[in-house]
Amino acid sequence: MTSFEDKILASVKIRAEGINASSFISNLRAKQVYESNRKKRIRSGFSAFAFIFLISIITFNQLENFDNYNSYVPFAYDESEVYFEILGDELNESSINDNDLTLFYMEESNDYDLEILFYMDDYLDVFDKNGETL
């Protein structure tokens, strides 16, 4: 075994020439700078990814709740009460007359039809001539 060990030791031996210390140290410094920059790049890349991920989550969440944000849920009121007051139901008559009802519909609709406005103008004139008011 010993002779085999000696053989291996002998086979591994080399006459390695020395290495230039100053150039090695400058290469080492360059590698250190490279490594630290690489780490910084990885860190900033990760931060950017986290930021984009966070923004995506927020945006996705907002888009998912888009209908809720635009349906004025916080200001919603019980419509059945209003419709009951205006239209009544099968048993109770509405306390509002036809004129009020027409005005109500006009106020509720966002786009006023010019034709209807003209019609209503004439309509109101008639009422005025009769000495009645709305």
């Binding site: 085999f4 291996i8 002998a10 591994v12 031996k13 080399i14 390695a16 290495i19 090695f24 140290i25």
Partner: protein
């Protein structure tokens, strides 16, 4: 020449020049260690750089009760071990091709080539490989090997003999 431990103290207190001095003091030993394994100046220099980079990062954790050379050998051994393992799987231990003819390759009198030897060393179990590398490359004593690897002297001896036996079987049978 200032003692390595004194240089470490200086370095840990912020003197960057002290690290350069540590590198200068130990450069040829580390480079020689890797030259014996790789037979390639470029690869040996890369591995030497890796060792000193690791040293730079971890030197603040150095405990002064142990020898600095032992600490450095531990880094050498781990770096060599990972290089061998990495290249074993890549199949890149082309040591004979890398070596310039006549410069490092003087083992024509042996039954095996250096490539075969290092390929067989790479196939050894990790503990045996560590001990064999340290013993073969720098001829360290079992006591030193036990300090570096953290195993007992007896275990180091047993691992070396098992490793050597396996190498003998493989290399002499080929």
């Amino acid at each position: 020449m200032i003692d390595d431990k004194e240089l470490i103290r200086k370095f840990t207190s912020g003197d960057e020049k002290a690290f350069d001095q540590i590198v200068q003091n130990n450069l040829n030993n580390v480079f020689g260690f890797f030259m014996k394994i790789t037979r390639d100046e470029m690869a040996a220099e890369d591995l030497t750089q890796d060792v000193f980079l690791k040293l730079y990062k971890n030197l603040k954790n150095f405990r002064y009760e142990s020898n600095f050379s032992t600490y450095l050998y531990r880094i050498n051994s781990n770096t060599a071990n990972s290089w061998i393992t990495r290249n074993k799987w890549k199949g890149m231990l082309h040591l004979e091709q890398i070596a310039e003819e006549g410069k490092y390759d003087q083992n024509n009198e042996f039954e095996w080539t250096r490539q075969e030897l290092w390929e067989e060393i790479a196939k050894l179990p990790k503990k045996q490989r560590k001990v064999v590398i340290l013993r073969v490359t720098d001829g360290l004593s079992y006591r030193d090997i036990s300090e570096i690897t953290g195993m007992s002297e007896g275990t180091a001896k047993v691992n070396f003999h098992h490793g050597l036996k396996r190498l003998k079987e493989k290399l002499n049978n080929d």
